[in-house]
């Protein structure tokens, strides 16, 4: 019994409800949402410390014992992801103050941001497969509204696509849960895992369900060939919403793949993990091809999301201690740095008025701070050694070599170079050269916008330099993944 586990979900929910009553008072809304986000960051830190000291934390909601009620489980993986989510949420909320515009703020913008965060944090924390579905829906419905809020033509068009894809995948999710329930007869994830382990042989139908779950979560998390909706849908909304989506939504799909493939479907790795491996490598390739193909800075960063998902899933499909550690390290790094990059290109677009890289250059003369912040973010993304992208990718590639999967590891190494090229392209063509494409006499004030971006880049840099401090937490999380008994015992307490 530990009510700290529910607080990261309950705080944004309560905030969202309070904000409904202050729909017209924009300043009050901003203060309330900023304070609540800051509070949630502190709570998430406390939660991590508690998980680190006392092992996996569980909460049986409603005081019903484990397999019968809903259990919320906070192991190190979910606690770390909750902390990252709250930090990203805090930065994006601060960024929204100056950039989202009063029209959207009056129509419940902050309410839906809080609902989105509640859904994401809930999906990271829950220990019940159907509850995971419900939190997915909370997250998705808030994301539909954030995507369409404002009602411009492109938003309406892309929302219809996004909505259709996600309704279909949610239906598949329910079907998958129904199949699984008819075989194991329980919904509690630890109990499902236990029941599957008790089966004398791994029946073929479970492999079918594993692939069905891979399709569902792959649609949410945009892996090849299910990524087709992402470039268009993420292009439509305003920049802070784009940052939230890019940093959080796809990562929930990735988290669900990690959770189900380490807790349920680890008995017959031959088939499912090979599929995952191949799909992950193709996803990386698709991502880098997209990111060098475009001259639109938003598109470049959007395709980099897909690349990162491929890298993370490659580590997961190797399924060794090193692979999991690398994937988790890279997952957290990627959430922070993607949010930072989206916020930074948002500032660039605000300064130049265009997202087309060919129409402006020479920004570094007028905006040096912006330029060097972007530079640090870009080399962090590519994984230059002292920065945060390095260590995760190193472990992922190392695990690939250890498992004799040379092709995938080499592909990831080479594609890092292309990732670096894609983000450096923005730096070279946008920031260097002669000043053109924007008004260099009138310097646009962007301090309030730059602060949250610098905050995120600073978190990322500290994360990279403080690898020694962070690593015990990461390996603690990876230990639960390679050894699901820790999770099961914490929940069912035999």
């Amino acid at each position: 019994m530990n009510n700290l586990v529910i607080l990261p979900i309950a705080i944004p929910l309560l905030t969202a409800i309070i904000l409904i009553f202050f729909a017209r008072k924009i300043v009050v809304q901003r203060y309330i949402s900023a304070i609540s986000m800051l509070l949630n960051v502190i709570v998430a830190f406390m939660l991590i410390q508690q998980v680190y000291e006392n092992g996996v934390q569980t909460l049986n909601v409603g005081n019903w014992p484990a397999p019968f009620g809903i259990t919320l489980v906070s192991d190190m993986l979910s606690a770390l992801l909750v902390l990252t989510t709250t930090i990203v949420g805090f930065a994006v909320t601060l960024y929204s103050f100056q950039s989202i515009g009063e029209d959207r703020e009056k129509y419940y913008y902050y309410t839906f941001v809080q609902f989105l965060l509640a859904g994401v944090i809930g999906a990271f924390t829950t220990g019940d497969i159907f509850n995971l579905f419900v939190f997915f829906e909370i997250m998705l419905m808030a994301s539909y509204v954030l995507l369409v809020l404002g009602g411009s033509k492109i938003q309406l068009r892309e929302t219809i696509k996004y909505l259709t894809v996600n309704v279909v995948s949610s239906a598949f999710f329910v079907i998958g849960i129904a199949f699984l329930y008819s075989i194991v007869g329980t919904l509690n994830m630890a109990h499902i895992s236990q029941r599957i382990a008790e089966l004398t042989e791994f029946p073929g139908i479970l492999t079918v369900i594993a692939v069905l779950f891979l399709i569902v979560f792959g649609l949410k998390g945009a892996i090849f060939p299910l990524y087709f909706w992402l470039p268009g849908s993420y292009y439509a909304p305003p920049v802070p919403v784009m940052a939230l989506f890019g940093a959080l939504l796809t990562k929930v799909g990735v988290y669900s793949i990690i959770r189900t493939f380490t807790l349920f479907f680890y008995h017959d790795k031959g088939y499912t993990h090979d599929i995952l491996l191949v799909l992950a490598i193709i996803t990386v390739l698709i991502g880098v091809v997209g990111s060098i193909a475009y001259w639109d800075i938003k598109k470049i960063i959007i395709y980099n999301i897909i690349t990162a998902i491929g890298v993370i899933l490659y580590g997961v499909s190797i399924a060794t201690d090193t692979g999991f550690s690398g994937s988790l390290y890279y997952l957290i790094h990627d959430m922070v740095i993607k949010a930072a990059l989206f916020l930074l290109i948002g500032i660039i677009i605000k300064v130049t008025g265009t997202a087309n890289l060919k129409q402006f250059s020479g920004l570094i003369k007028t905006y040096p701070v912006l330029a060097w912040t972007y530079f640090i973010a870009a080399i962090s993304l590519a994984g230059i050694p002292p920065f945060s992208g390095f260590f995760g990718k190193l472990l992922v590639i190392q695990s690939g070599f250890e498992a004799n999967e040379f092709i995938g590891a080499v592909i990831i190494l080479i594609t890092s170079l292309i990732t670096l090229y894609s983000v450096m392209k923005i730096f070279i063509y946008g920031f260097w050269g002669e000043a053109k494409g924007y008004n260099s006499e009138q310097k646009i004030s962007y301090k309030a916008l730059l602060f949250p971006a610098i905050l995120l880049v600073a978190v990322s840099v500290i994360y990279g330099f403080g690898t020694e401090v962070v690593y015990p937490y990461i390996s603690n999380a990876a230990e639960t993944l390679t050894n699901p008994d820790i999770y099961i015992e914490a929940v069912l307490k035999e």
Partner: protein, 140 residues
């Protein structure tokens, strides 16, 4: 135009109260028999829609000067606070409590905190349904 609907309007006045009473009945019955906050809320909203059909948006708004979006907020707050109240008593989130009370007129009655949660659901369902119908009805 309005005067032509005299039969519909007269019947609506009577039927509206029957529907509302029935919805309250369903709402309170939920713990022991089929019913509860969700159907109760829908039936209440159905009664309000009958008024909307018999009269028009303006009349109903004058009759019930409620901002239904605020009603959603109140409903959510009631539900979440009921669930959170358990934390004050140092038991897990969402733990419910019940006891028997001697109420005047009703005699010995069991009161359960789940009914408060159901009240939250009821308010959210009424608020959501009416917001959808009013918003679509108002937009040209």
């Amino acid at each position: 135009m309005k005067n032509k609907d005299i039969i519909l309007q007269t019947i609506a006045k009577v039927v509206f109260f029957i529907i509302i009473l029935f919805s309250i009945h369903i709402f309170f019955e939920g713990h022991y028999r089929p019913g509860g906050g969700f159907v109760g809320g829908l039936v209440t909203a159905g009664g309000l829609v009958l008024l909307l059909l018999a009269y028009d948006l303006k009349t109903v708004k004058k009759l019930m000067p409620i901002n239904f979006r605020i009603l959603i907020g109140i409903g959510l707050a009631v539900a979440l606070l009921t669930a959170s109240a358990a934390m004050l008593f140092d038991v897990p989130f969402f733990t419910h409590a019940f006891d028997y009370f001697d109420l005047p007129l009703l005699g010995e009655t069991s009161l359960h905190s789940a009914a408060l949660f159901d009240l939250g659901v009821y308010l959210v369902v009424v608020g959501t349904t009416m917001t959808i119908i009013q918003t679509i009805g108002e937009s040209e």
